[in-house]
């Protein structure tokens, strides 16, 4: 379980996170949603430690990340996997080498065991024949799947996904969402997904946290979100005229 307590973050004197407290449970896909610029990526990067928070506590299974030495933080990060918005695959390495990289760095497996593990992860993300390709030769969806394979290769306890569907068509986005959700349940991982894609929210949002202007405004799940009374959340969910009309129709039908 990951718990963030009263996290605040400033950039150049401007406050971008306001005392956010939130917990993320294992075996669930926890979603952080909000408009672009609302602070959700800063929140995620603060939880991982890529941004140093100005106030607050971050607990990984009761271990306070902020009180750890850099070495202890690096050790903890070996339990994390992350899928970045742009995939962040290493350009100069093949798919196979990208996935094998964490094994080369941190495991004592033999070359044969590493190859087997890489092939297993590639099979898990349905990319069996891409071993020798370079990231530049892959489509956006394939790059995301390779990044997921790399993120899970060390059996992480915590999985972070920053905008996993950005730049993908709706159908491929669903495939990626399903993959993240399946992996989370299969390995009982604490997964946090940053997104502003409402399809993802409705498909895999077992826990949803809504961030607006650096503040946590709402918390619930995908079944509760459409009935929320939070004005900012409703503005976000029903942003388009189409969605507003659909909401009015649902309200009229139910009344």
């Amino acid at each position: 379980m990951i718990v963030a307590e009263k996290i605040s973050k400033y950039f150049n004197g401007e406050r971008v996170l306001h005392d956010i407290s939130v917990s993320f449970e294992p075996g669930k896909t926890n979603l952080i949603i909000g408009k672009s610029g609302s602070g959700k990526t800063v929140l995620m990067k603060s939880i991982i430690g890529l941004h140093i928070v100005d106030n607050g506590k971050i607990l990984y299974n009761d271990r306070n990340f902020l009180l750890m030495s850099p070495k202890e933080q690096r050790e903890l990060r070996k339990e994390m996997g992350m899928l970045f918005q742009g995939s962040a695959l290493f350009d100069s390495l093949t798919v196979e080498e990208n996935i094998q990289f964490p094994l080369d760095m941190f495991s004592n497996m033999s070359d044969r065991e590493k190859r087997e593990r890489v092939n297993f992860c590639l099979k898990r993300v349905n990319l069996e024949k891409a071993n020798k390709l370079f990231p530049g030769e892959l489509s956006g969806g394939m790059q995301k799947r390779v990044a997921i394979a790399r993120a899970i290769v060390l059996n992480p306890r915590y999985l972070f996904c920053d905008e996993p569907n950005s730049g993908l068509d709706p159908k491929t986005a669903l495939v990626i969402d399903k993959l993240i959700s399946d992996i989370t349940h299969e390995y009982n991982i604490t997964t946090i997904v940053n997104t502003h894609d409402m399809n993802s929210v409705m498909e895999i949002g077992e826990k949803v946290v809504f961030i607006h202007e650096g503040r946590k405004c709402w918390e619930g799940n995908n079944l509760q979100i459409l009935n929320s009374k939070d004005e900012a959340l409703n503005d976000f969910i029903f942003a388009s005229d189409f969605a507003k009309r659909a909401k009015q129709n649902i309200d009229q039908t139910s009344s």
């Binding site: 690096r74 994390m80 970045f84 742009g86 962040a88 695959l89 990289f101 972070f160």
Partner: protein, 234 residues
């Protein structure tokens, strides 16, 4: 930069990276070093010859001048400046690109010391390989001078060969190699620093590359003066 010089996470990966960098930064620079050295050796020889009007000065001193110019200054400093442009821009743009595409963040999230993993092998590769480039440049430059002599008839081959063997000071090679090692550290660390700390997009990566090359070139010139004073002053 303190993170660069701490013990690598995995020695095997460090060695592998170092060999890759030797190929990328060192072996791939051999061509340009040979081309520049051969032409510079030829030009130094011809310029010395055409400016030497006093009949009392023996012509073999032209060979000595070409050799010592290559040994003392050209093969270390000028090649250093050229490598600062070629290798420095490569390092700054590679690391800068990795920064803006979150590849460095990916390393950090994995628990890898990204600065150490990316920069230390480059420094090691340059410190190990650049002295070899300098020594190669010395030989090729002197050879270029000889080619200029025989192709233009400005000087006889005998005079030139006698000159390059005359009054040889072995310490000049040591001096040049010491300078090369210091320059290698500058050429790799300065652009790496600018690339590693870049923020923004492609434009900022370009700026960081330019700043890395300009700063490392100025530092090379400054350290050239300091090291010359320290090593050659009597």
């Amino acid at each position: 930069m303190g993170k660069v010089f701490i013990k690598p996470d995995r020695w095997k990966m460090y060695y592998r990276q170092t060999f890759r960098e030797i190929e990328s930064l060192g072996l791939n620079s051999i061509g340009i070093v040979i081309i520049i050295s051969i032409f510079m050796g030829a030009v130094i020889t011809l310029q010395t010859r055409y400016n030497l009007e006093n009949p009392l000065i023996p012509l073999y001193l032209i060979g000595l001048t070409a050799r010592d110019t290559m040994l003392l200054e050209f093969s270390s400093t000028i090649v250093g400046l050229i490598l600062a442009g070629k290798v420095g821009s490569n390092i700054a743009s590679e690391i800068g690109h990795m920064r803006i595409t979150e590849q460095i963040d990916a390393l950090e999230v994995m628990g890898v010391n990204s600065a150490g993993y990316l920069i230390l092998p480059k420094v090691t590769a340059a410190v190990l390989f650049n002295p070899l480039l300098t020594i190669l440049s010395m030989f090729v430059g002197v050879f270029g001078g000889w080619l200029a002599c025989i192709s233009t008839g400005a000087l006889t081959s005998t005079d030139y060969i006698y000159g390059i063997q005359y009054w040889f000071v072995p310490f000049y090679i040591t001096y040049s190699v010491i300078k090369t090692i210091v320059f290698a550290i500058i050429i790799t660390t300065v652009p790496a620093y600018f690339g590693y700390n870049v923020k923004g997009g492609a434009l900022e990566v370009g700026h960081s590359s330019t700043r890395g090359v300009v700063t490392s070139s100025i530092l090379i010139l400054l350290f050239n003066v300091i090291l010359t004073q320290l090593l050659l002053a009597k």
